[in-house]
Amino acid sequence: MSDAAILSAPARRRGASGEAITAWALGLPAVLAYLVLLLLPTLAAILLAFTDYELGAPAFAWIGLGNFTELLGDRGFAQALRNTIFYVAVVTPGSILGALAIALLIEAGTRGRTLFRAVFFLPVVSLTVAMASAWQYLLHPSIGPLNAVLRQVGIAGPAWLSSSDTVMWSLAAIGIWENLGFNLVLFLAGLTAIPRELYAAAEVDGAPSAWERFRLVTWPMLGPTTLFVLTITMIRSVRVFDTVKVLTQGGPNKASEVLLHAMYLEGFTYFRLGYSAAITLVFLAIVLALMWLQTRVLDKRVHYG
């Protein structure tokens, strides 16, 4: 063994440089695409946020934090930020608790597992724009089935998507509906990964009820899954755009304006690219903060190593 190592040492070195050439050759397309399509545009977006660049304008100027100070005074932006936070704050617990409860129900027996998993997963693979249209019909104030049902029991249903009181709740409900199946599948995978022997041990150790076994085994063992689901749901829901664009365009009167839609309006409708980039940076900062929270703070508490 050691003889072979000594003999092959020069060969190895030659092999190593050959390996490096191969590696770079294999990686070259990816590296170029990465630079041109991801790294440079991202850096450009960051720089853009400090300019007053507008598409089609002959020149632009560096304005430092000008865009950000404007953001601070922009009531529309403040509304978008508030709405996004509200949306995340409703969709995250709603879709996580719902998914966990359904996952436990599905896992509690053997019948119908595949069927129910497929049913709840359906929204994940459905075209969001099309399903948003279906929701628009369902929630329509006069012809929508939901209000028709409410009328049957004598309640005058609100204009779900066009009243500023209900619009964010409606969007959040659709958000929960969209995210539930995805989280459910992750929870189901987490549940099947729990060793059966731990439940047996909990029973022999005297855990008297299903709730005690959940507390002693299921919940702690699901910790990493739950953390992952939590972060991914928050990040997914910070990105809310499709339903807003299709259903409300941010209205009525900015009552359902959200970050990405505001950024879209500023950048691609008004062509104020600099200002839009500043909103993008705020969005990026939120996403990064969520990821940081996952790796730095929460991760330590759920991995038992």
Binding site: P195, E197, A201, A202, E203, G206, P208, L216
Partner: protein, 387 residues
């Protein structure tokens, strides 16, 4: 039928999974203070039987008694049994001390007292917590875990985890200990060492212990009695010596012992003489068991030796084991493969293919009928007229 009121008693337990009978009416008794090893090949139903006793699973029919009490339909928690799992099944989010404390906390404290933060302010909670802490401490000490109490399972070696699992089992002094292959995840050296420790813990605790294993060496070295199980049935329960030297059943004889016992197809003639390939063997069947026809003659590898004018065989190879030597040979008459365990110094150089002749003491030969049942009433024919 229960004369041993204390300990574990299983009466006629059956269990089916998806139409397959995994346990076919199993009965077994483990007296208080007794260590019984349940040994059998994988899939024979031994783990299922253990799960029935623990209460993790219920029998389709039959009864289970622990210390004279019928526990067949009780929850595991109400049975006063402790179990050590093959994978140890430690709670990964709890420290060693917390893991050991779980069975005590679950029994002695109300749900409110067990609440993570508020629980400690509940009336009576402090005193109980202190009591539990002391008992956990002494259980941990008994297993040499004193310095590891604040670690998590992931920070422990395999052997240490195994001890934590043992400590969690002994901490509440159960009436019965169940151990499901507890050593199978340890490396060979640690396994041999831990065997002694488990027996020691059993002696001190004095509970009825049922120990499931597929490793016959563990079963023979540790147990007071060994139960051999195969295909959902217990074939024999006896002391390790009796299981080895005096098996009831050909399946027991072939399962126990390594290398495997030699089996030669035999024929019992009208005089009760056992013949192999037509030649008398010196073994005669007498008394009430008048069986004629096909039978099996079984001989342990150490009961065969090289002898002039014995059974003709062809040598096929030698395996040197240090203290002994295995000679692989083939019986010329029947083509049966044979293994001999011989003292190395007595074996000449035997190139493969060389002709040897083998002898044995007919008094040590075991005779089985065509169904594999042991024929015990045998005698040695006075003049050893070997093949």
């Amino acid at each position: 039928m229960t004369e041993s009121v204390t300990g574990i008693v299983v009466e006629n337990a059956t269990r089916n999974f998806a139409g397959q009978q995994v346990l076919k009416g199993v009965s077994l008794a483990v007296a208080a203070g007794e260590f019984v090893a349940l040994v059998g090949p994988s899939g024979c139903g031994k783990s299922t039987l253990m799960r029935l006793i623990a209460g993790i699973d219920r029998p389709d029919s039959g009864r289970i008694l622990i210390n004279g009490r019928d526990v067949t339909t009780l929850r595991p928690a109400a049975r006063d049994v402790a179990m050590v799992f093959q994978s140890y099944a430690l709670y990964p989010h709890l420290t060693v001390a917390e893991n050991i404390a779980v069975p005590l906390a679950m029994r002695r404290m109300s749900a409110a007292q067990r609440l993570p933060l508020l629980g400690r302010f509940w009336p009576g909670s402090q005193a109980r917590r202190r009591g539990i802490r002391e008992e956990v401490g002494s259980a941990a000490l008994a297993l040499g875990l004193g310095s590891l109490l604040d670690r998590r399972p992931a920070q422990l070696s395999g052997g240490q985890r195994q001890r934590v699992a043992l400590a969690r089992a002994i901490v509440r002094h159960p009436a019965a200990f169940l151990m499901d292959e507890p050593l199978s995840n340890l490396d060979a050296a640690l396994r041999v060492h831990t065997r002694r420790e488990i027996v020691e813990i059993h002696r001190r605790a004095g509970a009825a212990t049922l120990y499931v294993t597929h490793d016959q060496a563990e079963a023979l070295t540790m147990a007071d009695r060994v139960a051999v199980m195969q295909a959902g049935q217990i074939l024999q329960v006896a002391s390790p010596r009796a299981i080895y030297a005096d098996p009831d059943d050909l399946r027991v004889a072939t399962f126990i012992g390594s290398p495997r016992i030699n089996t030669l197809p035999a024929e019992i003639d009208g005089h009760g003489l056992a013949r192999v390939a037509g030649f008398p063997t010196g073994v005669r069947l007498c008394g009430a068991e008048r069986v004629t026809g096909a039978a099996t003659l079984a001989l342990r590898p150490e009961d065969l030796f090289l002898a002039d004018g014995g059974i003709p065989a062809t040598a096929e190879g030698l395996e040197f084991l240090g203290e002994s030597l295995l000679l692989h040979a083939r019986h010329v008459g029947t083509g049966t493969a044979l293994v001999l365990r011989l003292p190395p110094e007595l074996v000449p150089d035997l190139p493969p293919g060389s002709r040897v002749t083998l002898g044995f003491d007919p008094g040590r030969a075991l005779l089985f009928d065509a169904q594999g049942r042991r024929l015990r009433d045998t005698a040695v024919v006075p003049e050893p007229s070997l093949v």
